[in-house]
């Protein structure tokens, strides 16, 4: 049963990833990304990381991909890219070679690390923060987050505030934009114009 779950989730992950890199239309790429993220969430559940699986679906599929689709629709860039245009001839073969090299190196590290035993994991087993199957996953994660990593947790709140401020500054229209340009930049006005035509 675990094998069936793994194979189905792995197929979802890889099909979604291929969709992201091969689909010419950005909307289709974003929808393929959702497939990959759901596959990863299934693999998290298969490895007893239930809280992270839920957060994966909520934050990635629910927020990040929606943000992607929102930007695609807002900017009206949902037309198909022409994948045959490639200014640098060597770039694609080189990219494939680099990709194969990356996969090969990591896979070699994993398999050499595995050696003759079946598990690739050769690190030290946990001494202080062992996973206890009798305690819910979310409780253990919360204990780790709010005791050992509480400083890092507080720093992430600063990071999020900075990110929000930076984005507001980046994405708002400049003060001295002319009226014509301002109208173009605002999506709803532009669509009204198109509708009037």
């Amino acid at each position: 049963m675990a094998l069936v779950v793994f194979i189905a989730a792995a197929a979802m992950v890889l099909a979604g990833a291929l969709g992201v890199i091969l689909r010419p239309n950005p909307v289709h790429a974003a929808l393929s990304l959702i497939l990959t993220l759901f596959g990863i969430a299934v693999l998290f559940v298969a490895q007893d990381a239930q809280f992270l699986a839920v957060v994966q679906v909520i934050v990635y599929a629910g927020a990040i991909v929606v943000l992607f689709l929102f930007v695609i629709m807002l900017l009206g860039v949902d037309r198909t890219d022409d994948l045959s245009i490639e200014p640098l001839r060597v770039q694609r073969p080189l990219a494939v070679i680099i990709g194969v090299a990356v996969v090969g190196l990591v896979a070699a590290a994993v398999l050499v690390g595995a050696g003759d035993n079946s598990s690739a994991i050769t690190g030290q087993r946990s001494s202080g923060a062992a996973l206890d199957p009798s305690i819910p996953n979310i409780n253990q994660l919360a204990r780790s987050l709010f005791s050992d990593y509480v400083f890092a947790f507080e720093v992430t709140s600063i990071l999020l505030i900075i990110a929000v401020l930076g984005t507001v500054l980046l994405a708002r229209r400049p003060f001295r934009a002319g009226p014509a340009r301002g109208a173009q930049a605002t999506g709803d006005k532009a669509s009204e114009k198109v509708g009037a035509k």
């Binding site: 298969a46 007893d48 860039v77 990219a95 990356v102 896979a107 996953n137 987050l145 994405a171």
Partner: protein, 105 residues
């Protein structure tokens, strides 16, 4: 029976490696900044998957805490990155990565 085989952590790590490689290739061959950004998300997810695999295999909850932080940083990164892309595409509609040459010396 072949269905009795359970996936070992090695399988998860190899899947994560392949996913990371696909993200790398996508980042290198696509020219639309939005799709390049999605490929970065693929690579982040591959790393998250290997974090969770190590966490389960080594029986340590700290690997899952690391994934939590990766999620937060990925969310912040997406917000800032999409802000940059919105500002960029507003200035040059239909811009690809090759059109962003302002910093070229």
């Amino acid at each position: 029976m072949i269905l009795a085989v359970t996936p070992t952590p090695t399988w998860y790590l190899l899947l994560a490696a392949v996913l990371f490689g696909l993200g790398t290739v996508g980042l290198l061959i696509r020219r639309n900044p939005l799709v390049m950004f999605m490929c970065v998300e693929l690579m982040l997810n591959a790393v998250n998957l290997s974090f969770v695999s190590f966490s389960t295999a080594l029986d340590d909850v700290n690997g899952q805490t690391a994934v939590f932080f990766v999620l937060v940083v990925a969310a912040a990164e997406v917000v800032v990155g999409l802000g940059i892309i919105v500002a960029l595409l507003r200035r040059k509609p239909g811009a690809t990565a090759d059109d962003i040459t302002l910093l070229k010396g």
